[in-house]
Subunit: 443 residues, 2 copies
């Protein structure tokens, strides 16, 4: 730590001047001295790129070299690293990242879609060219979960990760819990309040959480990211009645992202990655996560369960994570993208999710006529799913034009058998709407 | 990350072969390949030291060079770092750390007492000799809070930290909550179950949490550690009746370690450090922390509040943290001990804790005679502490030989005024036992 000669400034090019890019610039300005003390050198923005130079961002662009095309930053002389906050799975973001790494220039990105899809290829390019690609901001923004896994838990084998990785969905589910309102109304309110995008699909259908999960699983388990292998189900079909019924049973409903490894002697470990709404018992560490918060629970074999929680989005939080990566680079701490060199990352073998056993919450909307319960029960019996409790008509969780709502809690059963039972009922005239199935997690 | 020549093994000397030292050895053995992949080089133990060579630890000592005196490790040829798990504020641990650093040899330690007392001097020695001293394990064992502050939140100014830093106290308080039993019985049970030491003083009187808090505050705020400046109060005086009463009011009681900075224009920031039992509202992030768990909530100006929680003790968890530091050293990542070079650490100016305002929970055991309430009320009035609610005889939280228990909740008042009210009552014949005062935290 004694430095005979203090290193010169660490010079950045930033591609993308939306709220995140300008947030990074604001943070670097506001904390310039603090960061210099912590990084051991000055951190300076020297070049920027954005689609539209004339847009008013409240910052003076004349301070920096302007690049009309982000890819120019890859080759611009005098840069120590490039920050990519353009966004998009492919296109300009990927072009810039690849070009910069090929030029031996480190890349910091917040782009979860790009890393989930191309992270392995980018890691290979980075290593081949002696550069680094860091993406703390891609998972839970400023809540430093990647770093916790890669550094703090470096001495652990981690075999299981559970998380609440999408703040919008969690905001909606906890708001539904409080208000008793249905999904559509709650989404509308979330959109008005800025917690949900005009097009909420990526958030409420689980895609955003799936991007993050694929990155987390790769880094924690030493595998190549397998975004396509994430089983995804969103929260659109959850009703106020489900939340109320779950509450009565002692559970809260959360969109849980889960990845675990099935290890077995003499065969490669098999990976299960799943994003879906689940029932969480009150004493589960994720059951209390409320509002637009993200949280990750990682199970270390030495450290035990570590929970980290905080904001999972927002320009300031995202800027915090990007700056953490920048400081690591400025200090010369260039680690492999996924904790181990890419040659050590093995392709994930997928686990058979149908074989996974859990208790299930099932919700049916059925026609109001005799024999319906017998039909349900028979379908469950035929699929070898045994019923633990059935909340019948008298205690029904709701009733509308479509029919009577019935909730069933099953004993432990393989996912495949539950699917089979539901498939058998699919075309029955007794079933007024497609049923909903959610696993019940253990604490 | 392309390495023309792979670096040789990273060679360790370990001083102290108690449960932590042997835990480190077990982890390094069990995860040797994983660690090599992650650190980019092999990590090897080459020398050990302990008081008694003949004790059976279930490990073969012949694998390593034996040093009868830990200080020998400081100068032993061929070591890349020394792990100090001897323990003790001064004595052999400090001698070893100082000698190793003076020899330019990095030190990894789990010794919170030593770092809280001598951390600044050790940081100076380290820097003067181009070595590093790392102590992740000293605070919350394997729950990587130092790293979260120093790396993950590096882009943030942190002005406030709150934590549950002592697992034994938290175990006892949450067990009292569940069982309704008093402190002494619960401590006895915790001792039988191995959650409390035979001499529990350091845990239940707050000293252990104070060590950790002084380290956390120094690192988060860029100050020299000021262990002597931590105001400490333990949990021995808390009764089952207090916990029950708090619960009725909607609070849980936890031993909270809190540090914050009062910043003011044109004057040095002033530090408040406090370990004391507090009432936490149900929606406070620390209110739900149960059992022997540690948790820290750090308020970043960009990242927002980050909560990290996990085991705070135990040989495996501690080994996890020590190995994280070892890997950082093996990778060549030697950072300043307290996040910035020691020359940048300013001595803490202490804040005036008496001026801090809070609502308070006060518990009195009073004689059963007329005029007692009037006397209490008068003392409060004289000290300008206004009463929000007083749980009187009829609803009293308990009654025993000593007298009647009365609980008072105050409006916001400076700590000094509350102390003054209690001092005024101290010698009153109406007061059967010394009263207890606990601040009520805000969510």
């Amino acid at each position: 730590m004694t430095e005979p000669t203090r290193p010169g400034p660490f010079r950045l090019g930033i591609a993308g001047l939306g709220t995140v890019g300008t947030g990074v610039i604001r943070l670097l300005d506001e904390h310039a001295d603090l960061l210099e003390a912590r990084a051991g050198r000055r951190i300076e923005v020297v070049a920027v790129s954005a689609r539209d130079r004339s847009r008013d961002r409240g910052i003076d662009l004349d301070r920096w070299t302007w690049c009309a095309n982000p890819a120019e930053l890859a080759g611009l002389a005098g840069l120590d690293a490039v920050v990519e906050v353009v966004g998009g799975t492919d296109g300009p973001a990927l072009d810039l990242a690849q070009a910069a790494l090929k030029a031996g220039r480190p890349v910091v990105t917040a782009n979860k879609a790009m890393i989930a899809a191309h992270g392995f290829a980018l890691a290979e390019t980075a290593e081949a060219n002696g550069a680094a690609i860091l993406f703390e901001a891609a998972v839970c923004a400023g809540t430093p979960i990647l770093q916790t896994l890669r550094e703090g838990m470096v001495g652990n084998r981690v075999d299981r990760i559970e998380g609440i990785l999408n703040g919008t969905s969690n905001y909606i589910l906890s708001a539904m819990e409080r208000s008793g309102e249905d999904f559509a109304e709650t989404l509308g309110e979330a959109q008005r309040l800025g917690y949900a995008e005009a097009d909420p699909a990526l958030d409420v259908d689980g895609g955003d959480a799936a991007h993050k999960l694929a990155i987390l699983a790769a880094l924690a388990f030493g595998l190549r990211p397998d975004f396509a292998g994430v089983e995804v189900e969103g929260i659109r079909d959850i009703r106020a009645a489900d939340i109320l019924q779950a509450e009565r049973l002692g559970y809260s409903i959360r969109l849980v992202a889960m990845a675990d490894l099935e290890r077995q002697e003499g065969a490669p470990a098999r990976l299960l990655q799943r994003v879906r709404p689940c029932l969480l018992p009150a004493d589960h560490p994720l059951a209390d996560i409320d509002g637009p918060t993200n949280a990750v629970l990682a199970q270390g074999d030495y450290a035990g369960p570590i929970l980290i929680q905080g904001a999972g989005a927002g320009s300031e939080s995202t800027a915090s994570a990007i700056v953490a990566d920048i400081v690591a680079l400025a200090r010369g701490e260039a680690r492999p993208a996924f904790a181990v060199p890419s040659a050590g990352l093995v392709p994930a073998e997928r686990a058979d999710s149908g074989a996974r056993e859990a208790r299930y919450y099932l919700r049916f909307v059925v026609a109001d006529r005799p024999g319906v319960l017998a039909e349900l029960a028979a379908a469950m019996r035929d699929a070898r799913v045994s019923i633990q409790s059935l909340i019948q008509e008298g205690e029904s969780v709701g009733e509308d034009e479509a029919g009577i709502t019935i909730a069933v809690v099953t004993h432990k059963a393989p996912a495949r058998n539950v699917r089979e039972a539901l498939a058998q009922l699919k075309d029955s005239p007794s079933i007024a709407e497609p049923p909903l199935a959610m696993p019940i997690m253990m604490s």
